[in-house]
Assembly symmetry: C2
Homo-oligomer: 414 residues x 2
């Protein structure tokens, strides 16, 4: 067969990729390339320590899941998720003022899919998001194909009066987005008054309020604060919950990311809309991983491993902060986070550009996440996110030593 070919020198050009693809940052490529650097200490990601994975129990759970529930596990399941898992999640996240039912729950294929679905349901091109700033990189990634605009909520700015500011900030937005527990990237806990103000603003304006909570149970000091969805239910009781908060979570930080199991808890009308979006995204989440997740929840696996997880991560947080104090206090300010996975280090010198520093850091064998990736415009160049959960204390200390060396070399070169 002879196929017609374009004329020599005039190859047929392919149609252009969608416009949003030209707007992504290059950081993923940098990170991938970093993977090839020998002995690199990587504090850029949000990775759990693989040693927390309850491997033996999960292996047996996986066998049992397939053997005991073959039709449910191996077939197409309901788009919304397996009924038993939805019921278990409804029970887990109910509170006295927040009686949840299965109709409040959508199982998602990872927390990231939850963000993607929220974007599909709520964003036309250019739609407005009132997002906590700086903003989780993955959320920016998930929404980029819908080309949204952002109104930045700096919830901890000096002089910030949440009650005065938030109603205006939410007005006209398709949704607000916040990570109240140990925000990604800053590690900060959003305080009770700001939580109340966020919920009040969502109730007053009608705007959806997306509460992303992957880290809530990684609490190292003090008591937890009420979730936004609990505050919302207290203000407007009713069953099932029908308010504006869209609460998202994942098993990635509590058990293992490889399950790719997340959930969204929201008003039934929102769950229905998200279900329609999920239908065209992956039709349903794997029954295999859903049944493993359900067994892990029912067997108490999350609670069984939590004390060891918390002790490990608390010690690493302390090790990272001690190393920061020893090596980097001349250049950076930071707060010790009470939970989560990250320390946010802000340069004292506003001219210290963490994008420009990154190649020097990589050359010294340390990789961090620069602040530009947590800003939809990429303009924030003054800070860095440092993860403390993946590496052992001595590696964290060595990493901060390397970073100090990189900064010295960078400033000398500048």
């Amino acid at each position: 067969m002879v196929l017609p070919s374009p004329l020599p020198g005039r190859p047929a050009t392919r149609p252009a990729f969608a416009r949003w693809m030209g707007t992504t940052n290059q950081i993923t490529r940098t990170f991938l390339a970093a993977g090839a650097i020998p002995d690199l200490i990587n504090v850029a990601g949000g990775l759990p320590d693989p040693e927390i994975y309850p491997t033996d129990r999960l292996a047996e759970i996986a066998r049992r899941a397939v053997a005991a529930h073959p039709d449910e596990v191996l077939g197409y399941g309901p788009i919304e998720g397996l009924p038993a898992l939805r019921d278990a999640l409804a029970r887990r996240f109910s509170a006295p003022a927040l009686p949840l039912t299965r109709d409040n729950v959508l199982v998602t294929t990872s927390g990231m899919q939850g963000l993607d679905l929220v974007g599909k349901v709520l964003l036309d091109e250019g739609g407005l998001i009132a997002g906590q700033y700086p903003t989780y990189l993955g959320a920016l990634d998930a929404w980029r194909p819908r080309a949204p605009s952002f109104r930045n909520l700096v919830l901890d700015a000096a002089g910030f009066d949440p009650h005065a500011a938030l109603q205006d900030a939410l007005m006209g937005a398709q949704f607000a987005y916040a990570v109240p527990n140990f925000s990604n990237p800053t590690g900060r806990l959003v305080g009770l008054e700001t939580r109340q103000a966020l919920v009040a603003a969502a109730h007053a304006t009608g705007t959806w309020l997306v509460e992303d909570d992957p880290y809530g149970t990684l609490l190292y000091d003090g008591a937890p604060l009420p979730r936004l969805i609990e505050l919302s239910a207290e203000a407007a009781p009713g069953e099932p919950y029908a308010g504006p908060v869209v609460a998202m979570g994942t098993l990635s930080k509590e058990i293992a990311p490889g399950l790719r199991i997340g959930w969204i808890i929201a008003a039934p009308a929102m769950i229905e809309a998200l279900t329609l979006a999920k239908q065209g995204s992956d039709l349903c989440t794997s029954g295999v991983t859903q049944r493993i997740a359900l067994a892990a929840i029912e067997d108490g696996l999350i609670e069984a491993i939590r004390p060891a997880v918390l002790a490990t991560y608390r010690a690493r947080r302390d090790a990272l902060c001690a190393a920061l104090a020893e090596h980097l206090s001349a250049w950076f300010d930071w707060e010790v986070p009470v939970g989560g996975m990250f320390v946010w280090a802000v340069a004292r010198d506003p001219a210290l550009d963490t994008d420009a520093l990154l190649p020097h850091a990589l050359a010294a064998g340390i990789c961090y996440a620069p602040s530009s990736v947590f800003d939809a415009t990429g303009a924030n160049r003054r800070a860095m996110r440092l993860n403390f959960t993946l590496n052992r204390p001595e590696r964290l200390a060595e990493g901060m030593r390397r970073l100090a060396g990189a900064i010295t070399a960078f400033r000398r070169a500048a």
Copy 2:
């Protein structure tokens, strides 16, 4: 805490859902409601028979996958998929003229996700798709959030000259979409000459050509035809493959849908673009299900169960067609498909509206997929898709008996 509430009688209104959500059909709701009808015979879906699932072997494979590869299975994996699975898929789909490498392969969380990613990468709002018509419902679902426009390719229309027609048809489209093997919904095999013409038109125009092949190995009679990507590689050799064909597949029909494992094979530049889209969709596919899929491929599980699968489905196809001949030949025309999962029955009377018939069919205890759902405009009301893989022969016969009764009642009522 007292939250400000909207004034009584003036509840705060929620922001509108994205526009595309107003354009979906109601068929899913009808199908869901149908699930509650006792003793319903459902030939609407594309479901495999659960009895083909190799349950015991998959249970043991699942245990072994977690126990033997805990870090890979339980952690975050590469966005593109586990290297070993990408290699195995590259080997499986290579051909003498088509030497594939890992860089040609993206693992997807189901075939549906592959469609979603193609839409994200290639469609701005209103982008043009040249789609084989009638068109797989799931593809319409996946692309609807990007609000595309469609140019319908009726590849088997009377007098259709593929070489004359297809170059014009593909010109200016972002991509063409075809299911060459036992098209969903029609069950038709796209012939060799039309395949050649599709590939030639893609080469000449540069347009991407999406070859969706979930059913290729479900071949009951005769020999397989070359894949579009093979024809493309023959016309423009080179390694790795860099041509316009984007070939998609899934394990859902060969092993079990519940794994939600699919793949895309394409030029490395397209794989890179799709990877960027996958990053914001679910970050990576579950390592658990990827490792199970890899073990199933390496252990020869697909080939081990295929003879029984083919024998079962061939007998059911014959049973459905015999029942059609016995009960419905007065009203419908159809062809016996040589593969796949579906028979497409077209009403002789153009006024027989299969949307309007559906409630009568449900009342009689039989559910089919009406042709309107395979048309982006919903205008095609004259046909129905009948699945033959899920139900036993005697149920298929009873289903067609019920359908004949429903048509009689429907025509009497009209």
